[in-house]
């Protein structure tokens, strides 16, 4: 492998990782933008998503790496898997908001944030108790197609992940910027009280933010499984923490910021592993985060949060 091949390969690795972090970071940012709440249950909504995806693919008879699909069956299975997973995690997110967080929304102090931490642990332990703590073999229905670019290898799964992440993020941008509900969301983020006075149903907007954010986390969970071919109850923590870092790095509350932040973290992880050592990955990621926050406290792209009146 030449140096150029190596850089290209680590770029491919980093962008794939980054796409996943970005999908997760969006959930943090959407909720924070509207409620100024850091939703720690998001970590494990992602993890639950990967398990829902695993069960859905299992239901199609895909077990381990034995069945490989192509063409229409593959597209169909993936479409159904994404729909089921995203609706399931979306509903889970809405449920958490409707039955738990709404009740503590107006409580002053960190009650809501602590609630999300509690919910996160409940999700983790429910999955642990029902499936066990060992790594599960995640089905891989993708054919082993790959392209050699010099010494670097671009696999079908990477292309697929980029396309899916791109479509989902494009859809989200369209939704936030061009639809009525998206407009209502932006208005609520700017000033919830004024939005309410203008006749916007703030509760509905908040539920939408939870649904969309959690559905994206679910999609992230499915992508994670397809990419790494495993899942376990502990996958939410590391990925969630890095995605949260990505959201803060890009400017929490800022939708494009979360996408770029995710990519940056992914690329840091890949290049750090190459240049320094994998053992130092977290040190590198969090040092860069600290540096950015010292010099740009509102993140790279500026932070968006409700106006405090």
């Amino acid at each position: 492998m030449t140096t150029a091949d190596l850089i290209l390969q680590q770029l491919i690795n980093g962008v794939s990782l980054g796409a996943m972090y970005a999908l997760l970071a969006l959930g943090f940012t959407l909720v924070y933008g509207i409620l100024e709440l850091i939703n720690f249950s998001h970590f494990n909504i992602f993890m639950v998503g990967s398990f829902v995806a695993l069960m859905t693919l299992d239901a199609f008879g895909l077990k381990g790496q034995t069945v490989v699909l192509t063409g229409l069956p593959l597209a169909g299975v993936l479409l159904v898997a994404f729909l089921v997973t995203m609706v399931a995690t979306g509903v889970l997110g809405v449920g958490i908001e409707r039955f738990l967080l709404r009740r503590v929304r107006h409580v002053k102090g960190p009650a809501a944030m602590i609630t999300t931490i509690g919910v996160s642990y409940i999700l983790l332990n429910v999955v642990l108790l029902t499936t066990g703590a060992d790594a599960k073999n995640f089905p891989n229905p993708l054919p082993a197609v790959h392209y050699d670019i010099g010494g670097a290898v671009l696999r079908l799964r990477e292309i697929l992940i980029w396309i899916i992440a791109f479509v989902l993020m494009g859809g989200l941008s369209y939704f936030v910027n061009r639809t009525r509900l998206g407009k209502a969301m932006r208005a609520t983020a700017q000033d919830p009280d004024a939005a309410r006075m203008m006749g916007i149903e703030v509760d509905r907007v908040i539920m939408t933010a939870f649904f969309v954010g959690s559905a994206l986390a679910g999609a992230g969970g499915l992508i994670f499984g397809l990419y790494y071919n495993f899942t376990s109850a502990s996958v939410g923590f590391v990925a969630g923490l890095r995605a949260f870092t990505a959201a803060v790095l890009g400017g929490i509350g800022n939708v494009p910021g979360a996408m770029v932040g995710g990519l940056i973290i992914g690329l840091i992880e890949a290049s750090g592993g190459q240049l320094i050592a994998t053992a130092w990955t977290d040190v590198v990621i969090f040092s860069i985060l600290v540096l950015v926050l010292v010099f740009r406290p509102s993140g790279l792209f500026g932070r968006m949060a409700p106006n405090k009146s």
Binding site: N13, L17, G132, N137, F230, A239, G273, Q274, T278, D282
Partner: protein, 414 residues
């Protein structure tokens, strides 16, 4: 000392005598002394199935001793302790320390089989030493625990209490380095560990001997077992053009490493220690990704020995799964404890922890792996490292280690 006879104890004594009389039980049998043996393994998490296979080995030995009344007037019981926790997803040394305290505080426990993991062993050893409770590990191979250099840390009370029916990583790592240099003709290698006590120690020992054998060490890195993505480091290994990769560690990082290395460095020789041996790995990684990995066991390979045919058959019938080599070492560990108690009873000595420990120390027991004797630190006198390679056998269950790991031979000693 006078015994105060309370109303309740008097009543119970009367009732017991009455029961014995009506059932016609002879005095000696009614008074069978219960001797408890603790089984300390990682029953929860990434290594659960290996833990079960090993624990069942000891359980079988104990059941057999009770059935054949191997020790007159003694009934053996086992108590299971689990050091795997759900939050760790694998073994947890803190839970191991808690278990050690529980074991020490139960006066009926005279010895223990375990732990499975070296990280747990390091946490347990000082507590067991203070409690004068001997344990025989069937699987933990980190050499520090029995190394006299660290005696102050791991056996503060002085006497050896940590015995093994396996060899240590001081042999497992270096012998495998010899094997890779001599038999596999490896010229360059990248060494990884999983940041655990066992993994780091094994990788260090391997690396030192590999260097001596003239294998070029291209690099050394450490994996976070909770992280999901090892593609950065694997791409680096690919770019360095390594002949081989050696991984010191257990299943949590191992499963992901095996999956991703199959994608990124399919043609590089991959090897690990006994942490890469077991059904958890076969099911977690799956074929074809797991194919071709080398793994070692720090014990002689006797499961396939025709002499053990009956034993293997009996085990498989009893537990509905095949044994592996650490089932054997665990069975052997229980045999040694039972033998220690037997010699005490025969000599008319009380079955105390101290006496059991002394008898384990002086053991000369014929076990499944041959005659076992310990040196003064608790290590086996006869140390053998067996090498295996994963080769799919479609006619057998894909999660059965004894049919999917092919025995390659004994690794050359240093």
């Amino acid at each position: 000392m006078t015994v105060k006879l309370t109303r309740r104890s008097a009543l119970m004594a009367t009732a017991a005598t009455a029961a014995a009389a009506t059932l016609g039980v002879s005095g000696a049998e009614a008074a069978d002394k219960v001797v408890k043996i603790a089984l300390e393994m990682s029953f929860t998490g990434a290594d659960a199935t290996s833990a079960l296979r090993a624990a069942q080995g000891a359980m079988m030995a104990i059941d057999e001793a009770n059935e054949s009344k191997a020790v007159k007037g003694v009934k053996f019981e086992y108590v299971k302790f689990d050091d795997g926790t759900a939050t760790a997803g694998q073994y947890d040394p803190v839970q191991g320390a808690t278990n050690a305290r529980k074991m020490v505080s139960d006066r009926d426990i005279v010895a223990s089989v375990g732990p499975q993991m070296s990280g747990v062993g390091k946490a347990m050893a000082p507590i067991l030493s203070q409690g004068n409770l001997a344990t025989i590990t069937p699987a933990s191979t980190n050499p520090d625990i029995t190394d006299p250099k660290f005696a102050a840390q791991y056996r503060p009370a002085g006497k050896a209490i940590y015995f093994r029916t396996v060899a240590t990583d001081a042999f497992q790592g270096p012998n495998m380095a010899n094997f890779m240099a001599d038999k596999l003709k490896v010229k360059s290698i990248f060494v990884l560990d999983d940041s655990g006590a066992y993994g780091v120690g094994l990788a260090d020992a391997f690396q030192a001997q590999a260097e001596k054998k003239g294998i070029k060490i291209l690099g050394r890195d450490r994996l976070d077992p909770k992280a999901a993505d090892y593609s950065a480091i694997l791409t680096k290994i690919k770019s360095l053009g390594a002949d081989a990769m050696y991984y010191g560690g257990v299943g949590q990082a191992g499963v992901k490493l095996a999956k991703q290395s199959y994608e990124i460095i399919p043609n590089v020789i991959k090897a690990g220690g006994d942490g890469m041996f077991g059904s958890d790995l076969l099911t977690g990684v799956g074929f074809p990704a797991v194919e071709g990995w080398y793994a070692t066991q720090a014990s002689p390979h006797v499961v396939d020995d025709p002499k053990l045919g009956n034993w293997t058959k009996k085990y498989t019938e009893k537990y509905k799964m095949g044994p592996d080599d650490y089932t054997v070492t665990s069975y052997d560990a229980a045999l040694i404890i039972i033998d220690a108690v037997k010699r005490l009873v025969a000599a008319g000595k009380p079955v105390t922890r101290d006496n059991v420990r002394d008898n384990i120390q002086s053991s000369k027991v014929s076990t499944l792996q041959g005659e076992v004797e310990f040196d003064e630190h608790g290590d086996l006198k006869n140390k053998v490292i067996s090498v295996f390679q994963i080769k799919q056998d479609k006619t057998k269950p894909l999660d059965d280690p004894s049919s999917q790991y092919k025995y390659v031979g004994v690794a050359p000693t240093v």
